[in-house]
Assembly symmetry: none
Homo-oligomer: 275 residues x 2
């Protein structure tokens, strides 16, 4: 079973003529980056001519150079998305049944936060903590609980936080109260829901700022969103994982609370006395 181009090469390098072998060796030595550059640059690095490079990729079974590059990119993409598979050898850890799921989830979180800058989060926190406008939250079929979770916390540290629940017609009607100063937090991962997209579009037209929690393939709502948080969702399960988005949500909740510390502390005391 040959899965990567690197394996394919080492499998066939013996049957190659001298020039192509030099190409193969340079590619292996700088794998896979040389292969992503132009055929001319590749040929220069290998010290051969560009036609030799083309014959080389043809011998590997590719129709043309772009096809070869695409395959390399796909390979790279697969590597970059699951850091674990690359860093640790499979035999090193004890074979627990649950740990693949846990490991994947931990990777997803690290990866999600790696693509999330402090500045981006700070901007979102500032917007969520801005009390001149209202905050609305809504989610899709499986992610609506995340919207609820976030709403439950935010509603405690500040007024004017609303979770949009129930039937579509109900929350569509709420659009009438939304305007420029307001924020709409939407959770939407595959398979993206049309109803949410329509809702987001209308809200956007009304000038509402949208904060979108989605997966790495980006919900179509990203079109209308002011801020996009792309979480990794891939786990060894029949379902996608929302855990990374959940942690981002908790991080934001914590940051908003700290931001509003003075006010929220007072508010929380008041709430306590109401019980």
């Amino acid at each position: 079973m040959i899965s990567s181009i690197a394996e394919l090469i080492s499998d066939r390098i013996g049957t190659m003529p001298a020039g192509e072998r030099r190409a193969a060796q340079t590619l292996i030595a700088n794998y896979p980056l040389i292969g992503l550059k132009t055929a001319a640059e590749f040929s220069a690095a290998a010290g051969v001519s560009s036609p030799t490079i083309l014959r080389f990729v043809a011998r590997l079974g590719f129709q043309n150079y772009p096809e070869f590059q695409s395959t390399l990119q796909d390979e790279l993409a697969a590597q970059l998305q699951s850091p674990a598979s690359r860093t640790l050898n499979p035999s090193s850890l004890g074979g627990s049944a649950v740990s693949p799921m846990l490991e994947a989830t931990l990777d997803n979180m690290r990866e999600t936060f790696r693509h999330l800058s402090d500045k981006q989060l700070a901007d979102i926190v500032a917007k969520l903590a801005d009390r001149r406008g209202k905050t609305y939250l809504i989610g899709g079929r499986f992610t609506d609980p995340l919207a609820r979770y976030m709403a439950a916390h935010l509603a405690i540290v500040q007024p004017n936080v609303f979770h949009l629940a129930g039937q579509e017609s109900i929350w569509r009607d709420r659009l009438i109260d939304m305007g420029k100063r307001d924020v709409l937090v939407i959770f939407d991962i595959r398979r993206y829901q049309d109803s949410l997209v329509r809702f987001a579009e209308t809200a956007h037209q009304r000038g509402v700022q949208i904060v979108l929690f989605t997966d790495q393939w980006l919900s179509p709502i990203a079109r209308f969103a002011r801020h996009v948080i792309a979480g990794r969702t891939a786990v060894p399960s029949a379902w996608d994982s929302s855990a990374a988005l959940f942690v981002v949500a908790e991080t934001l909740i914590g940051a908003v609370t700290r931001q509003l510390e003075a006010d929220s502390a007072k508010r929380i005391r008041e709430l306590e006395s109401l019980r």
Copy 2:
């Protein structure tokens, strides 16, 4: 000090017009691979035109698209050569506000799963997948969204899954339908809610098996529970974190789905056709 293109983007994304911001977001979400493809493919993925992509890279300070791609490749090369440097976020070095939160959460998860045996999980899965009885789910003030999340998934792979929502009196009345073969999944972390404890006690008296998700200090409901999952909740925030429990929930969802694979696949197909 800006070292990577990703940082550069998050630094300037605030000043970008809508179209270029979409480009920026898609690049961040699929970093950095989309940027290595052609401008046309990039533009299609971002849902904008190719000139917008070119204006985007120009705004980042590049003379032309190839120069932008070369920089991305160099960055990738540096990463691939020292795998260690990739795993840590550059911002985690200089006192970032978010990464303590992430680190604590990751620790919580590892710690939570360390105290969770495969056998314990397998028992719970077996019980949840047992279709002779009904499954009820409920949670506390902040954890009810977790109950909803779990219910939303379980209800798809098997019948007779119910989330108990609304006012206390409503779900108390549902006790009448609960019996020995049924399972009640409860989420309860500090501060533990009296209403839930009373509910759990009554259910227990009726012979209902209780699966409890709680924190490491154990809700009083643990007294009545057949299975207890104790998650770590401590994070540097004003709030406790439910993320570890969330991941356990997802793990169970995945395991139950696999357990019921044959039946659930058929069921899911049926559901699809109902849309």
